[in-house]
Symmetry: C2
Subunit: 197 residues, 2 copies
DNA sequence: TCACAAACGGAACATCGCTCCGTATAGTGA
DNA sequence: TCACTATACGGAGCGATGTTCCGTTTGTGA
């Protein structure tokens, strides 16, 4: 289990705990203003700390990104079960959940792109997303497949990759965002099997 | 019309013409080996020329990329008409053409990613792709829509963007390439309308 | 042959991610 | 209250990269 920063295994110094929170807040603000790819220096400046401080708390920028969006990712994971229980069909639940995933990505400048970055430092981010979100997606996809609603030759990982890619370069809530939603919708529509009377 | 380098409006010096070709050849080789994002220095070194020479011939890296792939892009454009004439249906032609587009992107390390890059220097590349390929795609899509085979609420630009994005991060002919083909296939499947008796 | 425009090469500048180490300070036991 | 030490901080510095700039070299026409 990853240490979320509030763990008590080793109590950190008070200034360290304060700085970690300051950094998360500053990073969140900078990510909104300048995107997830904002220079580390800019985040350090916004938080009023030095470069060394950032890298001690968050060894790579990916760790900082995870720290900022952890709660939202976890929330996305937890909606999967609710949707499955409440939707009229597993396929509908899957479609709704993917829509939520797209919403999340589309409102974070550059996050979808960072997920696909080949930079080694983003491996952690990639891994975190996959660890958390793929199982959630798989639970919905498996249910839809078991119900005979969708084809079974596309796995959750591939589907998530595709949906993530379709969000690359989209920012804000404009036409591009609506296009991303529609394209992911088409993708899922393409997976549906005709109901067998 | 963009000057392809062989125009005769102003005859360039012999060494300049030679270097332009040397650069294109070297760039093609480096792109294969290290991807479209290879450092400019690496291309200059491979061509045995200085940095200044690269930038005089190709003001941005995008221009170099265009120079290297121009022929293949043009070929892709010209297949659209053939496919439309020879396929059994416009929708089938569209699907085949998109497959060719995916093939092209998937065999060029990082090209799909560069197309989505927000770097200003890639604008030229973006524009060239759109200028050439979107009309070709539109001709097929329009035909399919007119035949009542596909829905009419997705335009060629959006479709190309989506297909391009689905190829990001894919390299070589492995599983990822096959996934890209399948995902684009699903997208187009999602656009199909049921035949009306 | 000669002069000059054209073209070349690569040093230099700006920006970025990340590391390193000297300095400052929070927490603790006397 | 006061040292003392582990902890944390700050920012200069390194290596890599895209791009510009300018002194030097070279093709070419007269």
């Amino acid at each position: 289990m990853r240490d979320g920063g509030t763990s008590s295994t080793v109590r950190k110094r008070a200034d360290a705990r304060r700085n970690e929170q300051t950094l998360l807040d500053a990073a969140a603000a900078v990510f909104v203003a300048r995107g997830v790819d904002a220079p580390v220096r800019a985040i350090a400046a916004a938080a009023g700390v030095g470069m060394g401080t950032i890298y001690r708390h968050f060894p790579t920028r990916a760790d900082l990104v995870i720290g900022v969006y952890r709660h939202q990712i976890d929330a996305l994971v937890s909606t999967a079960a609710h949707l499955l229980a409440e939707s009229e069909s597993p396929a509908a639940a899957l479609a709704q959940w993917m829509d939520g995933f797209v919403d999340f990505l589309v409102t974070k400048h550059g996050l979808a792109g960072a997920l696909r970055s080949e930079e080694a430092s983003f491996d952690t981010l990639h891994a975190y997303f996959l660890d958390r979100l793929v199982p959630a997606c798989a639970s919905l996809l498996d249910a839809a497949t078991a119900a005979g609603e969708t084809r079974s030759d596309v796995d959750a990982l591939t589907l998530m990759h595709a949906a993530g890619n379709l969000c690359i370069g989209v920012e804000g809530g404009g036409d591009a965002a609506s296009d991303a939603h529609r394209m992911v919708g088409l993708l899922i529509a393409g997976m549906r099997l005709p109901a067998v009377g």
